[in-house]
């Protein structure tokens, strides 16, 4: 991933953008943060947040015109938050400890501020905080300017006096009764000070430039407040009525300019979001219950603490997190895509050290639901997919993560399972049925019956291809192995004369659509919908209500999803859609090999999905069905409904274990070859003849540890032929190890009575290599 690409991806995650209130506020008060603290009953912490941007919260909290409220996301759900009233509550209720002064290095370049209204005071305060010696000139005998025009019942005099005190406390030198013009010219100021800010927006003055006192008018740059004269800054003339918050905003902008001017840095760089703007942050407000504004018991006294807390709790704490809300994986890692893409970038970039995001990258199901719900179409699935390929290219993909799945694929594409045949007695195929590896593993009998049904119903020659589409390699980022799988498929398909491919698995469908677009594929479900259902399927009006789980690889395949619904309706089922279905469907936890990279997370994904409805689920992916049932959810494959006399009885059928999946595929091939084509298939591996007796409890341990029967058979074959084994004289058990590939398997076993195979007591594995030597 290039830096530029990273930036592009980061920019598409909008989670860190300001909430609308803060963006609309000319000085960007962190309203959400303030609400958060206040809702927790901590006005002191809330005040601290407000003070970071707002110098006079007690005053502004009483007179602000609140542009924030016009854009508040609570607006249509009970009314915008009472932002100013809560700012005032912060000032009134927060402990009035003076702000802690950061020891800024004292600078020696002096600044003059002319005008002691809100603007002048803000600029003086900001510059004093930055360490500049500031002298403030005010024509009248008191600070505050037009604040004194606000009626006392709205803005008590004591509040003005108390809050404006902070300016003197910050070290600003005040020169009252010193108007510009009589005895104090701009020229004088420019001689004594290195920068001057004219904050003269009071009646009787031309407010738009230093020329005002000289009878000239000079324009003020509204972005920087700079005038034509170097070092002189001024408040521009603004249309409309006076706005206290805009006055503060203009002055702050001038203070930033003065600081930049004195530091001799760019006046214009990176200032685009000063002043009010429209945020890119999206906040979903669907389903938010209306809640009206909390009234004040005493309007003049403002909110009591209790009232303020109640009001602040109405704040929606606006944020996006659309993807995180629907994805257990994105939620699990506790952050959001902007952070995640940075972590992935770092993970791919580091040369030495611990790669912390490996598991994160490998845990994504690659289902791209995130892109579906993202207002900016950011696709973490695509990012993770690409990252895995990079890791493989760099030689940094942890070998253990995907090896099991890749071995499974290798098995499916070996002589044990792979098969391509025209229908018996023919030499050409119009169609070829491609059931895929997992349906063949989970329900081999159904594959047989569907194949028979297709040959009967379509009226044209239908061949058969058994193998794996290569998806595990694609998911693992192993494009080398994936290309081999595709090439092998293509060869086998061409050998059959390139017939149309009937696909039962939506993952195969997706893979071929994406990587072999020249192949004409048709979903089994679309075909059945079009051609009619198997005769065995019982049609009736009333079979109850089910929910459909669309496999995640049907996202964007609306015709398949529609066909499945029509088939269900014809079978007599009513459908209650899950909250997330069709283009927003979720992964079952197997996609992208999440199941192998992060088992606990994948189980959580299953748990979450199956809890979405108490109804039985119907799906059309064998893997989804098996995983749901394994976690206790009554689930049916669409083929159960189409082919089985008593589908209900299948709803809790446990899916086969890993070894059984191999066995089922191999047996399916053997059986079809024998029954359909009249061919015998030899047992391929000698060790495969070793019979094992594995107690259920050991069996489930083997599943958990990803140890296959064939692994155990190989250990025993090795131990028995070489004599290399340990023995426990007390139990008579043997313990032996063997390393057929990258994993060392240990098996504790004993010969079964009467010489019939072996009883298996335990097995475990490690990847570390024991370097044997006879030397001790």
């Amino acid at each position: 991933m290039e830096q530029k690409e990273l930036r592009g991806l980061e920019d598409r995650c909008i989670q860190e953008y300001a909430p609308p209130c803060t963006a609309a506020c000319p000085i960007h008060v962190d309203v959400r943060g303030m609400m958060g603290e206040m809702s927790r009953g901590d006005p002191e912490a809330a005040l601290k947040i407000v003070r970071k941007t707002l110098p006079f919260p007690g005053i502004i909290g009483r007179i602000c015109e609140q542009p924030c409220r016009a854009v508040c996301n609570r607006k249509n759900a009970g009314g915008s938050l009472a932002v100013a009233a809560l700012e005032r509550a912060c000032a009134d209720l927060g402990a009035h400890q003076p702000e802690k002064k950061l020891p800024m290095p004292r600078k020696n370049r002096k600044v003059a501020v002319v005008g002691g209204g809100l603007g002048g005071l803000t600029a003086a305060l900001d510059l004093a905080k930055k360490g500049y010696p500031v002298v403030l000139f005010e024509a009248r005998d008191r600070l505050g300017g037009r604040l004194w025009d606000v009626p006392e019942e709205i803005l008590p005099r004591s509040v003005i006096t108390a809050e404006l005190n902070v300016v003197a406390q910050a070290g600003v030198e005040l020169r009252l009764k010193t108007p510009l013009g009589t005895g104090l010219s701009l020229a004088d100021l420019r001689t004594e000070f290195e920068a001057v800010y004219l904050s003269l927006r009071i009646e009787g003055h031309k407010p738009d430039g230093p020329g005002s006192s000289d009878g000239e008018r000079a324009p003020v740059d509204p972005a920087t407040m700079a005038t034509g004269q170097p070092g002189v800054f001024a408040t521009p003339l603004r249309e409309g009525s006076y706005s206290p918050i805009l006055a503060i905003s203009d002055a702050r902008r001038a203070a930033v300019s003065i600081d930049r001017y004195l530091q001799k840095v760019s006046m214009t760089a990176a200032r685009q979001n000063e002043g009010p703007y429209v945020t890119r942050l999206y906040t979903n407000t669907a389903g938010i219950a209306p809640l009206g504004m909390i009234p004040m018991a005493d309007g003049r006294a403002g909110y009591s603490l209790d009232e303020a807390v109640q009001e602040a709790r109405r704040c929606l704490q606006c944020q996006c997190l659309e993807c995180v809300k629907v994805c257990a994986y994105l939620e699990h890692y506790g952050s959001y895509p902007k952070k995640y893409v940075r972590e992935i970038y770092n993970n791919l970039s580091i040369v030495m050290g611990h790669r912390q995001a490996n598991q994160f990258i490998n845990s994504c199901s690659l289902c791209s639901l995130c892109r579906e719900v993202c207002p900016e179409d950011l696709d973490m699935g695509a990012v993770c997919r690409q990252a895995r390929r990079t890791m493989v290219d760099q030689g940094r993909m942890p070998a253990s993560t995907h090896e099991f799945a890749l071995r499974d694929m290798q098995f499916s594409n070996s002589e044990e399972f792979a098969l391509g045949r025209h229908p018996p007695g023919t030499t050409a195929s119009e169609y070829v049925f491609f059931p895929g590896c997992q349906l063949s593993a989970s329900a081999p009998g159904q594959v047989e019956r569907v194949y028979a049904q297709l040959r009967e119903a379509l009226g044209v020659p239908v061949g058969l291809m058994l193998r794996c589409c290569g998806a595990p390699a694609e998911w693992a980022g192993r494009m080398d192995l994936f290309q081999i799988a595709l090439a092998d498929f293509r060869r086998a398909h061409q050998a059959l004369g390139s017939p149309r491919v009937i696909l039962a698995c939506s993952t195969c469908y997706r893979m071929f659509q994406t990587y072999l677009p020249e192949i004409e594929g048709v979903s089994l479900w679309v075909l059945l919908d079009r051609q009619g259902l198997p005769a065995r399927a019982t049609l009736s009006d009333q079979k109850g209500i089910v929910s459909i789980h669309d496999p995640c690889t049907t996202r964007g395949e609306q015709s398949i999803q529609d066909s499945v619904r029509r088939i269900l309706a014809r079978l007599g089922y009513q459908i209650e859609e899950l909250p997330l279905s069709r283009e927003k469907t979720e992964c079952c936890g197997y996609g992208g090999l999440m199941w192998l990279a992060n088992r606990p997370l994948a189980k959580g994904v299953v748990q979450r999905r199956i809890a979405e409805s108490p109804l039985d689920y119907v799906t059309y992916c064998a893997m989804c069905r098996d995983l749901f049932v394994a976690q206790g959810k009554r689930s049916l494959h669409l083929l159960d409904l189409l082919l089985e006399a008593d589908p209900e009885s299948r709803s809790m059928r446990p899916g086969p274990g890993y070894s059984q999946r191999h066995e089922n595929r191999a047996r399916l091939k053997r059986k079809l070859l024998k029954e359909v084509w009249g061919e015998e298939m030899p047992k391929l591996q000698e060790y495969g003849k070793i019979t094992l007796n594995i107690p259920a409890e050991v069996q489930s341990r083997l599943e958990e540890r990803l140890i296959l029967v064939e692994d155990i058979q190989q250990v025993i074959a090795h131990a028995e032929s070489t004599g290399k084994k340990l023995v426990n004289p007390q139990t008579g058990h043997f313990l032996a190890y063997h390393r057929p590939g990258n994993v060392t398997y240990w098996v504790e076993y004993s010969p079964a009575p009467k010489g019939h195979g072996f009883a298996i007591h335990n097995a475990y594995s490690h990847r570390m290599l024991i370097e044997e030597s006879k030397k001790l």
Binding site: G723, K725, L726, E748, Y764, I770, E772, S773
Partner: protein
């Protein structure tokens, strides 16, 4: 997990071929171009080594993961 091989059985494993008890010895284990000397029980005659389940699934698995993420 360790019900079949526990501490009491530890000393009970013997080399089946040589018919003698295992003894502690230095063995090199390696993964991803990293080699470590460890002490494991092994046959003093033929060198057949025993990696107990708790070491395979504990320390070894930890080191494997750390090396894979390095």
């Amino acid at each position: 997990m360790t019900e079949t091989i526990d501490q009491t059985q530890r000393s009970n494993w013997r080399c089946a071929a040589c018919g003698i008890a295992l003894q502690p010895g230095k063995v090199t284990v390696s993964y991803l171009d990293n080699a470590y000397p460890v002490e494991l029980l092994r046959c003093p005659r033929c060198g057949l080594t025993w990696v107990p389940e708790e070491i395979a699934l504990g320390k070894m698995a930890e080191v494997e993961k750390a090396l894979e993420d390095k």
